[in-house]
């Protein structure tokens, strides 16, 4: 546990030093998004990587967090921090209630149900024009502030977002190494065996779903307050898929993997922008190739490749741990 903590502290220190290296500008702005995406990926990873429950609708929880926060602050002038808390609580309660019937499903049925839920919520964002502003979006969301400190620049937002993201990562690492984390992994391997060992499988699955949704909602709220403008397009089916891809490409059940996946999938489109319309083709191709050649994700794939290079003897068919 001490080594885990040390690893985390080094990771956190490196990330918090970055703004002092690149004063401002485009890269810092992209890194703010890496932070938000990492938070979302870590939240989804708790559900998918640890408990083994798929969700293809997580963008909807992210969107709900953003819209609840945005509407409360922009339309009703509620304090931003209070709005963020309300968003997290409301989305958490929603996920808890819907979690019981939805998590009874397994495999592709669960995938389809979460996907359906995501699409229903996405359509609601588009159609409730009086409340959400419809397809043209909701603007005028205030920046978060702490006394005289207003988070209105990339640099300030960087620290704001990454403090939340690092806190989420620390929470998740602790959770994964706790009794609950072990129970979750037991559910992943065999629900029946977990139940036999005295794990309340049904409740635990719903609880982790709730936590995962609440984390997404907070990320959504942070997104709304840093962007100050939101529209339904950011919370559709494609984004749910992108989140799933971040978790899988990074490495299931690895918190740092989620960071790697989120960083890669956020930076990649920026790098590919030079290729203009070809970017989506390259993106699809990379997705296929990476899943084919690094099935365990980046976090397991890199060490395996390094080992192969250093030993100069490619070992075929050997699982990398």
């Amino acid at each position: 546990m001490k080594r885990e903590l040390l690893k985390f502290l080094i990771f956190a220190a490196i990330l918090l030093c970055i703004p002092f290296l690149f004063k401002a500008g485009y890269l810092l702005n992209v890194l703010v998004f890496v932070g938000i995406h990492t938070m979302l990926a870590v939240g989804l990873n708790l559900l998918l990587g640890y408990a083994g429950q798929i969700s293809l609708g997580h963008a909807a929880f992210f969107g709900l967090g953003a819209y609840i926060s945005g509407i409360l602050t922009a339309t009703y002038a509620v304090n931003s921090w209070l709005a963020m808390m309300i968003a997290a609580i409301v989305v958490g309660i929603m996920a808890f209630v819907i979690g019981f019937p939805i998590l009874k499903l397994k495999g592709h049925y669960l995938a389809m149900a979460t996907l359906g839920l995501g699409i229903i919520i996405y359509i609601t964002f588009n159609e409730l024009v009086e409340v959400t502003g419809g397809p043209s979006g909701l603007s005028g969301i205030p920046n978060l502030s702490l006394g005289p400190l207003i988070f209105d620049s990339d640099q300030k937002n960087y620290f704001l977002i990454w403090i939340f993201t690092l806190a989420t990562m620390l929470l998740s690492i602790n959770l994964a190494n706790s009794r609950i984390g072990r129970a979750l992994r037991a559910i992943h391997d065999s629900e029946v065996a977990a139940r036999v060992m005295g794990v309340n499988v049904r409740l635990l699955k719903v609880q982790i779903f709730t936590l995962s949704a609440a984390i997404s909602a907070i990320a959504g709220s942070l997104y709304a307050h840093t962007m100050t403008f939101i529209s339904p397009a950011s919370f559709g089916f494609n984004f749910s898929i992108e989140l799933l891809t971040m978790v899988v490409i990074g490495g299931l059940g690895s918190i740092y993997g989620s960071f790697l996946g989120a960083a890669l999938l956020t930076l990649l489109p920026e790098l590919l922008r030079a290729f203009q319309d070809y970017d989506i083709v390259i993106y699809g191709l990379l997705l296929i190739l990476m899943t084919m050649f690094m099935p365990g994700g980046l976090v397991r794939g890199f060490p395996a490749i390094l080992a192969v290079i250093s030993s100069k003897k490619p070992e075929r068919g050997k699982e990398s741990a």
Binding site: H108, I119, I120, I123, T124, E127, V281, M292
Partner: protein, 294 residues
């Protein structure tokens, strides 16, 4: 128009889109049953069917039947190539990785379609004119009849293939138990290839017959694919009667909901139905409950 006439109208258009969903759902079920993969790229073959036909028609000036006959094999070849390059090389991939690969494939195919044909929506002429026919007080387009006819033929052909041909029986054996199938001499890998070929062929035909009614563009595959998946889930992932009923049910309820409640929520209605069915009968409408094998 009287209310009852209106109702018949909604019913008719619902049944015809429902038939399309059923055809797409068949594709999902056939691949799932031989490989236990959910092929998220299924919708893209539906798109390819429609877009290729439009391309042959308007750019190369093929006559309609020839354009269709050229489009189907090409879209099917796309399915076969996808299986060869992305699915077959993976022997020990997890389900989730396979899902990601099919998603990657769908992004890739959609991206290529966008590069080749642009982002515009294209219209396709109907197969035999736009003169509406009168049927029991409601009007029906000849294209609806084409849809019903072709869907019926494809379903019957599908049934005959799986029940009476050697390849069809072998594919069903793979669905039951892959290891046992390979022990009795069935080339499982070839059956997987066949399942992709049949699915993409059926998908592309679905895309072609619906295109004259709804227009087509590079991104129609997403929603059509998801609705087809819905139909297959409602039918319990079988490539039979269940999926047909699932598709028709989905199409009709969606069309009634859009007509009587709100057209903006049309797609939401389909997914609400899906969620309700999953909550009440998680194993699909027509399947018996299976106990989990530990």
């Amino acid at each position: 128009m009287q209310f009852s006439e209106q109702l018949i109208q909604y019913l008719l258009s619902g049944l015809s889109t429902g038939a399309i969903y059923a055809l797409i759902g068949f594709g999902f079920a056939i691949i799932y049953n031989t490989t236990s993969i959910i092929n998220f790229a299924q919708g893209e073959f539906v798109m390819l069917g429609g877009m290729l036909s439009v391309y042959f028609l308007s750019k190369l000036n093929f006559p309609l039947p020839l354009a269709i006959l050229a489009a189907i094999p090409l879209a099917t070849a796309g399915g076969a190539i996808f299986e060869r390059l992305a699915i077959r090389p993976l022997k020990r991939a997890t389900h989730l990785n396979l899902v990601i690969i099919t998603i990657g494939g769908s992004i890739l195919i959609r991206g290529l379609a966008m590069l080749i044909w642009g982002k515009d929506t294209h219209a396709m002429p109907t197969f035999s004119g736009d003169e509406p026919l009168n049927l029991a007080g409601a009007t029906i387009l000849p294209q609806h009849l084409w849809i019903f006819g072709i869907t019926l033929l494809l379903i019957i052909g599908n049934k005959l293939f799986f029940n009476y041909s050697i390849a069809g029986k072998a594919m069903r054996a793979c669905a039951c138990n892959r290891k046992a199938a390979s022990l009795v001499g069935i080339d499982v890998r070839r059956m997987v290839l066949y399942s992709f070929i049949i699915s993409s062929a059926m998908g592309s035909m679905a895309g072609i017959i619906i295109a004259p009614l709804t227009m087509t563009s590079y991104d129609v595959g997403i929603m059509l694919g998801l609705k087809g998946f819905c139909a297959a889930i409602i039918g319990g992932m079988s490539s039979g009667f269940g999926t047909v009923i699932g598709g028709l049910l989905l199409g009709v309820l969606e069309s009634l909901g859009a007509g009587l409640i709100s057209s903006g929520y049309k797609d939401a209605i389909a997914f609400i139905i899906l969620l309700l069915i999953l909550f009440i009968r998680p194993q699909g409408l027509f399947k018996k409950v299976e106990t989990e094998r530990v």
